[in-house]
Symmetry: C5
Amino acid sequence: MYMAKVVGNVVATRKDESLVGYKLMVVKRINSKCEFIDDEEVAADYVGAGIGDYVLICRGSAVRVDESKQKVAIDMAIIGIIDTFDA
Amino acid sequence: MYMAKVVGNVVATRKDESLVGYKLMVVKRINSKCEFIDDEEVAADYVGAGIGDYVLICRGSAVRVDESKQKVAIDMAIIGIIDTFDA
Amino acid sequence: MYMAKVVGNVVATRKDESLVGYKLMVVKRINSKCEFIDDEEVAADYVGAGIGDYVLICRGSAVRVDESKQKVAIDMAIIGIIDTFDA
Amino acid sequence: MYMAKVVGNVVATRKDESLVGYKLMVVKRINSKCEFIDDEEVAADYVGAGIGDYVLICRGSAVRVDESKQKVAIDMAIIGIIDTFDA
Amino acid sequence: MYMAKVVGNVVATRKDESLVGYKLMVVKRINSKCEFIDDEEVAADYVGAGIGDYVLICRGSAVRVDESKQKVAIDMAIIGIIDTFDA
């Protein structure tokens, strides 16, 4: 996992039907000084995150472990909203 | 997932037979300014994308969750056509 | 796997419920001279590691092989505390 | 997936027994100008590629979807020989 | 897969119990000129490799395809000892 900031969202009308109902957010990875350290990625929002939130990003098959998500074409998700971190 | 632009396609007559019927597109990852930020990759097209489209790219086992794709040797796919995004 | 140092932890009250009970640590990858060589990542702690420990990091589905972890949205874990290494 | 050129092969007498019978090729990723853009990797050949061929590389569990390959310790394979591509 | 040189080993007394019995080696990726091209990683040894050996590294779920390894928290392994390669 890594830390990121939610910076926007993506609208895609034509898409794989498994994605219907998921909010797709643009996120940028941060370091412990809250500096951006990578280019934009797109993550499905599992926790009700909003633009400006610092979040925890998970990747790979880990984001489909839940029974309800096993047939969803998602490889990256926001799995937590960060209250605080130190480093 | 990440955002990319479709820039071309690949023709491969001799290939793993599981790939037959899939359109293989050359894509280049973009940032939120629509600047290219990585080298060319090849993605299977799941949504009818064309050259010049801005698309959503998914990687890994996520692209084989659908029953019809479980035996296909694909690790990257175009899963949406982006209408708009902000960041 | 790779070697890392535990440098902090993350508090996230709102998170995927599968994460409840896991300690989430901020780690930084190191080389064999114990120099930091990458940006901060977040790993679940499986072995009781503390801040300052040198640890072994594992990624991907490998961190969910245990029966108890198959439904947990984790893609990175601390799987060992390093006593010594040479290189 | 990405495009690569086959530049050599690897001989390993002592190896995981699941690899017996697979030809292991040294490949270098290319961009759409056929310039090398990454360091050498090793891919199992699924399609009868030879040195000098431009090929399509697939990674991860995708290369083990075929029934005959589910127990093979391979994470990268040549899955097509490229006739032409544009970009 | 890629080519690497074994440069050391890691001792970790406190570790995930699935790792007991596996030798954990420090490896450095090489290119076809045998130059080091990446930072140190840690791989489980499946083939009896020793320090100084040139080896073949495999990553991801591929290293757990064998029945005996399906519950082991390993994401990288030495799967062959390289006799020769050309590129």
